[in-house]
Amino acid sequence: MNAILYLWLIPLLPFAGFLLNGILGRRLPKWLVATVALLAPLAAFCMILQISIGLYASPVAFSHLPFIQTCPLGWINVGTFHADFSFVLDQLSLTMLLVITGVGFLIHIYSVGYMSHEEGYARYFSYLNLFLFFMTVLVLAGNALLMFVGWEGVGLASYLLIGFYFQKKSAADAGKKAFIVNRIGDFGFLIGMFLLVANFGTLTFTEIATKLGQDPGWQGGVVTVIALCLLLGATGKSAQLPLYIWLPDAMEGPTPVSALIHAATMVTAGVYMIARNHVLFDHSPFALSVIAIIGAATALFAATIALVQNDIKRVLAYSTISQLGYMFLGCGVAAYSAAIFHLMTHAFFKALLFLAAGSVIHGLGGEQDLRKMGGLWKKLPVTFWTMTVAVFAIAGFPPLAAYFSKDAILYAAFTQGTNGKILWTVGLITALLTSFYMFRLWYMAFMGTSRNPETHPHESPFTMLGPLTILALLSICGGLIGIERFGNFLAPSVGARLIDLTDPRVEPVLGIVAVAIAVLGWFVAFSLYSEHPKQPARLVAALPRGYKLLVHKYYVDEIYGYVVVKPLLGISKFVLEYVVDVAILGGLAWLLGGIATFAGAILQRWQSGNIRSYAAWVAAGAAALLLFVLVPWGTVWPESLAFVWKVAGH
C-alpha cells in the first residue's frame, strides 16, 4: 500500500510532462515529445492500477478508505477558516482516476497517429498533459477550493485545445465561447462556495457532510440555495440546459481532444461534483428535482437536435449533451452510483465514437460531412467494426455497456414516484431518438455506396486502431460489472439509494421495454436511410418548419445573441467605451495633462539659463528663510496691526 503514500505524484507526473514539452518541446524530435507525453499518463495510470489492485487484495486497507493526504505546509489559514492542499482517495475518486488516466492514456496514443502531420505537435501534447494534471487535481481535491482550482484549470486546457487551430477564426471564437459560458457557471460555483464558508465555515467535503449530519435542521432553505448555485456551476461545465451552447462549438478542436475533454472526462466534472457533494444535495429535495428535470430536458432537447445534424462530430456532440443529461437525471433521483456508472461506460463508448469518427475524418482527409460519406465499411474495416460496437453500445443493446448503465438510471427514475414515471418516459423517448440518430450516422457513413467517388479513404495507422480496439472491448465488457456490484463498491462514497420496494418483476420488464425501444430506433433508421433513401427528403418536405427548427438548433444561439450578447455588447460599447472610457477617463487624463502643460508654460520662465538669476533666487530664498526664522511673527503682527490701527486715528 505504499503507492497510496505518493498520491501527489498522480497529478504531478502529467504536470512534469507539460513543463518539459511546453518549455523544450519545440526543440525536441517528435518521437521524444510523444514519449514524454505518453509516459506521464501511463505512469499515473500504473500507480492508480497498483493502488486499486492493492486495495482489492486487502480488505483491511480497503476499509480504511477514504485516504486523505494533506500538504503539511498548509495553504490558506484565515481565522477559523482553513483550506489545505489535501487529496482524498476514496471509491469515487479511484473510479474517476481510473477512467481519466486510462482513457486519457489511450487517447494520448491515438493522438500520436492523428496529430503526426500537424503543426504544433509539442504544444498539443503539453496542453493534453496540462489537462490531465488539472483533471486529476479536480478529482482528488479534498475541499471545494482545490476542486475549483482543477475546475478552472480544465477550463483553461479546454480553451487552449478548442482554439488549437487558432489561425482559424471559428476555432478561436469557439474557444472564447466555451470559456465565457463556463465563467457563468463558475460564478454559481463561487457563490456556492461563499455561502458554504458563511454557513458552515469550511469547504472540506467531509466536514460539510459531518455538520449536515449532526444537525437535522439543515433542510431546504440555505442548503437549497447552495445546491442550486453549485448546480449552476455543474450545468456550465457539463453542458446542460441552459449553458450547453458551448459544447457543439467546441468540436472545432482536434478530434482526440473532443474525445478526451468534451466527451469522456472534463464534461463529466459537473456530475462528479454533484456526486462529491451528494450529502448537500440529499438535504435539498427541491434542488434534486431541479437536477432531474434539467437532466431529462437536456437529454431530450439535445437528442432532437442530433436527429438532423450532418456534421459527424456535431451529431456526437449533441449526443454527449444528451448522455450527460442522463447522468444528471440519475443524480436528480439520488442514484449517484448509477450516474457514475453511466459516466464510466459513457467515457468508454463516447471516446470510442469520437476516436472512430476521427479515424473516418483522418481517412477521408478532413471530411466531416455525413452526406459525402457512405460505403466506408469496406475501406475502413477496423474503424467500422469498432464504430459498430460503439453504436450498438450507446443505443442500449445488451450486453454492451450502456444497456446496463442507462437501464440503471431509468430504473432509478421509474421507482421515484409519479414524477419519476414522467422522467422515465422522457428518458425512454430520448433512448429511442438516440438509437435512431446513431444508426442514421452509422448507415450514412458506413453503409450503402460512397456518395463522393473522388475520395480515396485509407485505414488509419496502428497507433490509432489500437486504442479503438481496446475501447471497443471496454465498451463491450464495461457494463458487465453490473450496477449492484458497482453501487455496493461506491456506497461508502456516494451513499446507497433507498429504493421503495416496487414489484421486483418491474426491472426485467423495464429492460425489455428499453431494448424494444432501441430496436425500434434501429428499424426506423434502417427503413429511412437504407431501404428508402428518398424517404428522409420527403419527410423534410412534409415538415419544413419542424425541420428548420431542428437544423437551427431551436434558434437558441440566435436568441442568446439577441437577449444576452447584443445588449451586453451595446452596454460595453456605449456606456463603458464612450461614456466611461472616452468621456470620463479620457477627460480626466486630458485635464491633468492640461494643468501640467499650463503650469509648465508659466514656470518655464523661471528657467532662464542665467546663472546669476538663479543665484539671485537662492539669495532671495535665503533672505526669506532668515526673515521667517528670526522675526517673531507671532508678536510682530498684532503689534503692527495695533500700530496701524492707532495711526489710522482710533
Partner: protein
C-alpha cells in the same frame, strides 16, 4: 605711548564688531556674485563669502573657547583651495571654448 591707547589695546574687541565685519564681507561677496559679469570676479566673490564665514567661525571659536570652529575653518580653507584649482581649470576651459568670460553669454543651461 598714549596710556589711553594702551588701555584700548588691552581690552577685547567686542564680538559684535567681528560679526558685523563678517556680515559686511559676506554681503559684499553676494552683491559681487550677483552683479559682476566677469567670471573670475564672480569666482573671487565666492572666495570672499567663504572667508566671511571663516571669520565668524573663528570669532565664535575664540568666544566659547571651542577648538571645533577653528578646525572647521581649516576644512573650509582646504575645500576652497581645491575648489580654486578645479574652478580655475573650468574657467580656462570655458575661455578656450567660447573666447569670453562674460557670465551672461554662458547660458547653455537655458532650454
Amino acid at each position: 605711548m598714549n596710556p589711553a591707547y594702551t588701555q584700548l589695546l588691552q581690552q577685547d574687541v567686542p564680538l559684535a564688531w567681528y560679526l558685523v565685519l563678517s556680515a559686511a564681507l559676506f554681503s559684499l561677496g553676494v552683491v559681487g556674485f550677483l552683479i559682476k559679469r566677469n567670471l573670475i570676479t564672480v569666482f573671487m566673490s565666492i572666495e570672499l563669502m567663504l572667508n566671511a564665514v571663516n571669520l565668524s567661525f573663528v570669532t565664535f571659536a575664540h568666544q566659547w573657547h571651542a577648538v571645533k570652529g577653528q578646525i572647521f575653518v581649516f576644512f573650509v580653507m582646504m575645500v576652497a583651495a581645491a575648489e580654486a584649482a578645479v574652478g580655475l581649470a573650468i574657467i580656462i576651459a570655458v575661455f578656450r571654448a567660447r573666447a569670453t568670460l562674460a557670465v551672461d553669454r554662458i547660458d547653455l543651461m537655458k532650454l
